[in-house]
Symmetry: C2
């Protein structure tokens, strides 16, 4: 039996789903894989609950319950420490440790760096550390001890397929195309059905499918970061500013409050209606596509044939097509739910297990 200490940074929706999944799988990990995972630190933005002997399942479940009630880790009765992340990694770590970053912040980079320097492994659901300067991407991924499945397509094994099925088998990737945003998939499916753009954005916003400011989705930057991570995984020397991004609203609507924005988007309805119509006349549909080819990445609304994997995609699923030397006549295609706490947590746990198995 190998015991792997876990240090988790972030305890929001995904963070809680990861802890729950690790707890629920305890027996299976032990009996089927000979692995035991022990949380030694659980961090939020202000500090951490730490126990070098491992937080007990009972304590973890109390912290989960506590958090569900909307309270912070610091308010828990379990010894919370206000140290910074670097100190926590130092305090809690051991060479077999795995550090899990389920935040959405750049601030974790120094702690992840320290963890890798110490020989720990790292699992990211957080895209930011891999979407900053390329030197950080290269150093982190070059360690051979970092996995980041959940950064693209949540639990859909996009990164594993690219790295372990395609690149490792010496296939040559010519071209990647994909839809990596459930929210934008919902929008383009609605547009195709004749619903007005403003109505779709209003609905998605009201139902909480978008960020509080829907421009954070409609601007395409989240998709651009995913395209960047894929391009860099292919070995391309890309920076985020090299990714050509077409936002779904004109620059002048980028200013002002969310309310202003929501009131103004009706002015876009007619032009979207026309684009959908023009696409339909060519047997095509609009999709918000990330496209990687010839060392360049583009993200934007594209006209794709209705009768193609991207054209047939409906609703909020993610889809990726790999056009390669081996998959030349038809691409290798992966499709599935690419967002949500459970899918993302599943991607994180798959990475934890992959790293742990390799350490056995």
């Amino acid at each position: 039996m190998l015991t792997i200490p876990l240090i988790q940074i972030g305890f929001g929706g995904v963070g809680r789903a990861v802890v729950e999944r690790v707890l629920d799988a305890r027996d299976e990990f032990e009996w089927r894989m000979g692995l035991e995972f022990e949380y030694v630190a659980l961090c939020d933005s202000a500090g951490a609950v730490i126990d070098q002997n491992g937080l007990s399942p009972g304590t973890l479940r109390r912290l989960l319950e506590h958090k569900r009630q909307g309270r912070s880790l610091a308010e828990s009765e379990v010894g919370y420490r206000h140290e910074g992340l670097l100190d926590i990694v130092d305090l809690a770590g051991s060479p077999e440790a795995i550090v899990i970053d389920v935040t959405a912040s750049d601030d974790t980079v120094p702690a992840l760096q320290l963890a890798l320097d110490r020989g720990y492994a790292v699992v990211l659901a957080n895209k930011k550390p891999l979407a900053g300067p390329i030197e950080v991407f290269r150093e982190f991924t070059g360690s051979g001890r970092l996995r980041y499945e959940a950064t693209v397509g949540a639990g859909v094994p996009v990164i594993a397929t690219l790295q372990e099925a395609l690149l490792a088998s010496h296939d040559t990737v010519h071209h990647i195309e994909g839809c990596f945003s459930g929210t934008l998939g919902y929008l383009t499916t609605g547009l195709e059905q004749g619903v007005a753009f403003s109505q779709l954005v209003g609905q998605a916003h009201a139902m909480g499918y978008t960020e509080p400011d829907p421009r954070d989705d409609l601007g395409g930057m989240d998709v651009a970061r995913k395209a960047l991570i894929l391009g860099r995984t292919l070995g391309w020397p890309l920076e985020l500013e090299h990714v050509e991004v077409e936002p779904l609203y004109p620059a002048e609507l980028g200013e002002g409050s969310v309310e202003d924005f929501m009131n103004a988007i009706e002015t876009l309805d007619e032009s979207y209606r026309q684009r959908v119509q023009a696409a339909r006349e060519q047997g095509s549909v609009l999709r918000y596509v990330a496209s990687l080819q010839g060392s360049e990445a583009r993200v934007g609304l594209q006209t794709v044939p209705q009768d193609s994997p991207l054209g047939r995609l409906q609703g909020t699923d993610n889809l990726i097509t790999f056009h390669t030397e081996v998959y030349n006549e038809t691409p290798l295609v992966l499709q599935g739910r690419g967002a949500g706490v459970h899918g993302t947590a599943a991607g994180v746990v798959a990475d934890i297990v992959a790293l742990a198995r390799c350490r056995k």
Copy 2:
């Protein structure tokens, strides 16, 4: 740099493609992964060319050329030995070795067993060893040193996704459905387009898309073995005779010569035409589907909604849908070329690299 000795059993189309791929990727493996692969034995049905110091790239290329000209390994001028497989594994092996089985035979089982007992790793494109008695499947996979991606869907990462994305993340698989035969995909697509069954079988046979006796494809046993391997990977205690198989021809056509069979299948055209028509009236199409649910596996012609992943599949691609706890509203779907020497060789090489990386 870690040097991994390779012992390959089988030097047909897939076997040659594996050797070529390993040779072509030498630099990349060395520089990007710090791995060096060295063929210490290359076996065919009667013996092997062995060099414990590693067959040089030049020698390997000579053997490839030699084989392309239709000659056997034994006729090569490189020291061929007529030992049996057990002796060859003994002669050539070392604990870091990886044994690759790209035959289509049961006869390799004792040699694979010996290799695993000695601590070597094993990669299978050969389905037979995993489709025999379940004890062998359990012993082989239980070693943690066996990979078998290419046995289902060639290079499409079906097994890796099931094991490493779904099972390892503690997702629960409720139901798997897939099309795992390019030949039968070609047939059902043709039937949908109104072509007669006998004409499709005749064409596929003439173009070499089927086995020499097309009943070997139409009987469904190859698909049944893939379903069996998936079911066993899920942990189900299945035997091949438990897989319910619907052949595409009636039992009475199972007797007699290939010529008799080809002459008789016109009698099936009308009944297939009617089945296609009946399906169409319900908005459905026919697909040759492997279906796993509730610890049971079935393989046969099924009516599936036209507007579903399986219904939209056209031509010879393979497709698999995983319906799980995480992928509950829409399944996780993988699609791609599931046959051919290059896809299969890519699956084998991906497995070799995965095993080698874990040994680093």
